[in-house]
């Protein structure tokens, strides 16, 4: 680890969780799919939880929104914003395919589950 100046809080830190990471299957695509599955599941829950909170907050204020949500049509700005958020979700969910894009036999220094050099 690099030395940091006293009191400095670096934005990016952590060698263990950085880089191409570990692979546990001979076919690294399986590792990538399972990573994607976890990120996707976490994202689904996170968004669902936010809707839970949103509906609770609105209900506390006496606002019924279900019908209005179904009838809502976005303007151009909202469409662009939502597209950007959707792309960010795709990047997060499928990021593992970019992180380990090739079979591990082609990745120098890659280790398998036993810590052996592949």
């Amino acid at each position: 680890m690099d030395s940091k100046a006293p009191g400095e809080v670096p934005a990016d830190i952590g060698e263990e969780i950085g880089g191409p990471g570990r692979a546990y299957f001979d076919d690294v695509v399986i590792d990538n799919i399972l990573d994607a599955l976890l990120e996707l599941s976490a994202a689904v829950w996170t968004y669902h939880d936010r809707v839970n909170v949103l509906e609770s907050v609105l209900a506390q204020q006496g606002i019924e929104v279900s019908d209005a949500i179904e009838a809502h049509l976005p303007d151009e700005a909202e469409i662009a914003r939502r597209a950007q958020e959707r792309s960010a979700l795709v990047d997060r969910v499928f990021g593992s395919f970019l992180r380990r894009p090739t079979p591990r036999m082609n990745l120098a220094g890659q280790t398998n589950a036993n810590g052996d050099e592949a």
Partner: protein, 363 residues
């Protein structure tokens, strides 16, 4: 944004972080509590069959099965790498998001620790010339920056371990058990108590609750841990001292403490350092003082199951626990006795994986 706390546990700075990390908690519970027992059961059965078929050599009396054989047989089950993938990924997701969330309030967190130090400078003891030895600077459990190198590592550790404990330690329930079960000296004279390797001081503050008249100290090598522990104790209204130092070179006078407690410290240090820490603890305990130790299993003479050997080895390689396999194999009890202690079994813990040892310094 500071969103307050969940009882005495800090809350992530954004709702999205909290929801994400709560998902990780639920997933971790499934992987560890439900998935691993199935991997273990399948692996133990497959090993028994392999031994019966003469494919794997049975262990000699008092010896463990060869780890490479265990790994080979366990790996035949495709669920094994799935479990390994899931556990590693959830750990990475947990640290990445926990760190990212609290970094949003980095300035506020640093200011809060500085404010606590202005309020009670007499309770925090940091030598500005102290340099953490390289062996302490591992990113243990994959925590970004480890215990030593991330200035906001204390709160990151606190919330990260909330996820690790799957929500069962949100109000320090585990640390309350550890402190309550710490053994008192026979003469019940308790003036000073030490929690070595205290991290964020969860057991330390409970020890103060239990022994309000005593001077209670928490000691850790990580400055971010010590600073956060101090700020947390000030916030909780607990008069506790925290010191950054090596457990093998504490700087306390001889015979200074009546009780010492350590929780899962020794498997995080090399065996040579473990010996030095035990000798140092013997030195700082007064005659008749008691050292309560809660730790990974050790003295493996075949009593550690194949599945636990597999898990410990996996954990060592994949969860940045570089020193734990050597600890598990070491004669930990013998080393404690060689230092001069009288060793006994300690009280049983709720977590049956951990061993509990009482080490008494003779009168």
């Amino acid at each position: 944004m500071n969103r307050g706390s969940i009882g005495i546990t800090p809350r992530p700075t954004r709702l999205a972080d909290e929801s994400y990390l709560e998902f990780i908690t639920s997933f971790r519970r499934l992987a560890i509590q439900e998935m691993f027992p199935k991997v273990a059961e399948h692996g133990e059965a497959a090993l028994a069959q392999a031994i019966e078929a003469g494919e794997v050599e049975p262990p000699a009396e008092g010896k463990s099965l060869d780890l490479a054989q265990i790994q080979r047989v366990f790996a035949r089950n495709p669920v094994t790498p799935t479990f390994q993938r899931f556990v590693r990924t959830q750990q990475e997701m947990m640290w990445r998001r926990t760190r990212e969330s609290f970094f949003q309030d980095a300035d506020g967190l640093m200011a809060a620790m500085a404010h606590a130090e202005e309020q009670h400078p007499e309770r925090i003891h940091i030598d500005p010339d102290f340099v953490e030895p390289e062996y302490t600077r591992c990113e243990i459990h994959c925590q970004p920056g480890g215990y030593t190198d991330d200035p906001i590592g204390g709160i990151v550790y606190h919330y990260g371990t909330k996820v690790f404990y799957e929500g069962f330690n949100d109000q320090d329930e585990l640390h309350i058990e550890l402190a309550q079960k710490a053994t008192k000296p026979a003469d019940r004279q308790i003036e000073r108590v030490l929690d070595i390797g205290c991290s964020v001081g969860q057991a330390t503050t409970v020890l103060k609750d239990l022994y309000p008249q005593a001077e209670v100290w928490g000691l850790d090598v990580g400055k971010p841990m010590v600073r956060y522990a101090h700020a947390r104790a000030v916030d909780l209204g607990k008069e506790v001292h925290f010191k950054q130092a090596l457990a093998e070179d504490t700087g306390y006078p001889d015979a200074n403490f009546d009780m010492v407690l350590s929780y899962i410290l020794f498997h995080e240090v090399p065996v040579a350092k473990m010996k030095d820490i035990i000798a140092e603890t013997y030195r700082v305990l007064r005659p008749g003082g008691v050292f309560s130790i809660y730790e990974f299993p050790s003295n493996d003479k075949g009593q550690v199951s194949a599945s636990n050997q597999f898990l410990i080895d996996y954990d060592s390689r994949n969860n940045c626990e570089p020193y734990s396999p050597a600890f598990v194999a070491a004669d930990f009890r013998g080393i404690i006795e060689q230092a001069g202690f009288i060793v006994e079994d300690g009280p049983l813990l709720t977590n049956p994986f951990l061993q509990s040892i009482i080490a008494r310094k003779p009168q």
